[in-house]
């Protein structure tokens, strides 16, 4: 199925979890400074593994950068 990962179309397997998409994004899933929103809602780190994505969902995988 297709989801949108950081604004780009992304092909993932049918039962893909948030954790799978975090790994696909290039972020370090264990690293600090990473956060995920799906369709505009925060998904806490503890739920990444079990949160199953659905077709067309918008996933934002964010990491710490310099700023402010």
């Amino acid at each position: 199925m297709k989801v949108r990962l950081n604004g780009e179309p992304c092909e993932v397997r049918e039962d893909a979890s948030v954790l799978d998409v975090v790994a696909a994004s290039g972020a370090e899933p264990e690293g600090r400074g990473v956060a995920v929103a799906v369709d505009g809602e925060v998904v806490p780190r503890g739920e990444w593994d079990e949160f199953e994505l659905r077709e067309g969902q918008r996933v934002e995988v964010l990491q710490a950068v310099q700023g402010g």
Partner: protein, 259 residues
């Protein structure tokens, strides 16, 4: 930097009254050098889409330096986006401190006051320690304080402009009425701007571009450290009044008749 008293925000003490924004450094190494030279114990971080080619971790660099992280909501134009960004930051950095930024105009980057206040109210209710980047507006500063913000952070002039403090009078009005720390945030161009903010009674200064985009960031960071300390010491010392005419400091009694 223990020459002047600590900066206390929401019950937490920081030995330095200088808060370093981390935006604009050419590298993490340059940032680390400037951070060490600045003496800052609190530094901002932001969240952006993952860039798999990015090298190094800003979180590790800041934590190795013993710095407390202050995530920001830079780039948000609505209260809704700012609240969501704060929630993402809490997840990413394990802190409920947030530098709340809601911008109202892309060209000047000036804050959008009503969205800012909305976001502040929501985040305070959710238990965040909210440090709002605000206009140099004494009424808005009061509203933000009443909403439960842990500090108010009026701008001196637009972000990255280096134009210094354009309205010292408003800044004084904000300082005079505030019961929470006042942090001058944005517009600092050089050391004298930071000293002026502290002389006006600000509790601290938050700056980024003036250091990160200086030719020698570490050296400018050292200048800012001294400026903030000097300004604070001067503020605490009670300056002399301004006079229209001169007033001799050498005794006027006992002047000899020499000719």
């Amino acid at each position: 930097m223990a020459e002047c008293g600590p900066l206390t925000i929401a019950g937490r003490e920081f030995g330095s009254r200088l808060i370093l924004g981390t935006g604009g450094f050419r590298s993490l190494e340059s940032m680390a050098e400037a951070l060490a030279a600045s003496g800052a114990e609190l530094a901002t971080v932001a969240l952006r889409r993952v860039d798999a080619s990015a090298r190094g971790s800003i979180v590790e660099v800041l934590e190795e330096a013993g710095c407390t992280l202050l995530p920001n909501t830079a780039g948000c134009f609505t209260a809704r986006d700012a609240v969501l960004t704060a929630e993402l930051s809490r997840e990413a950095f394990d802190t409920d401190w947030i530098k709340l930024e809601v911008i109202g105009d892309e060209r000047t980057l000036l804050p959008e006051g009503s969205e800012l206040l909305d976001a502040a109210e929501t985040l305070v209710a959710e238990g965040y320690v909210v440090l709002p980047y605000a206009n140099d507006d004494p009424v808005l500063a009061r509203r933000l304080e009443d909403a439960g913000c842990a500090a108010v952070m009026p701008l001196g002039s637009p972000i990255g402009s280096g134009m210094g403090i354009r309205n010292p009078y408003n800044l004084r009005l904000i300082v005079e009425r505030a019961d929470v720390p006042v942090i001058l945030d944005a517009g600092i161009g050089t050391a004298s701007d930071a000293a002026l903010a502290m002389e006006a009674g600000c509790d601290g200064v938050l700056l980024a571009s003036s250091v990160s985009r200086a030719e020698d960031p570490a050296r400018m960071a050292r200048a800012m450290r001294h400026a903030v300390t000097a300004g604070r010491l001067a503020f605490e010392s009670g300056r002399i009044p301004r006079r229209l005419y001169g007033e001799a400091s050498t005794p006027t009694e006992g002047v000899p008749e020499l000719t």
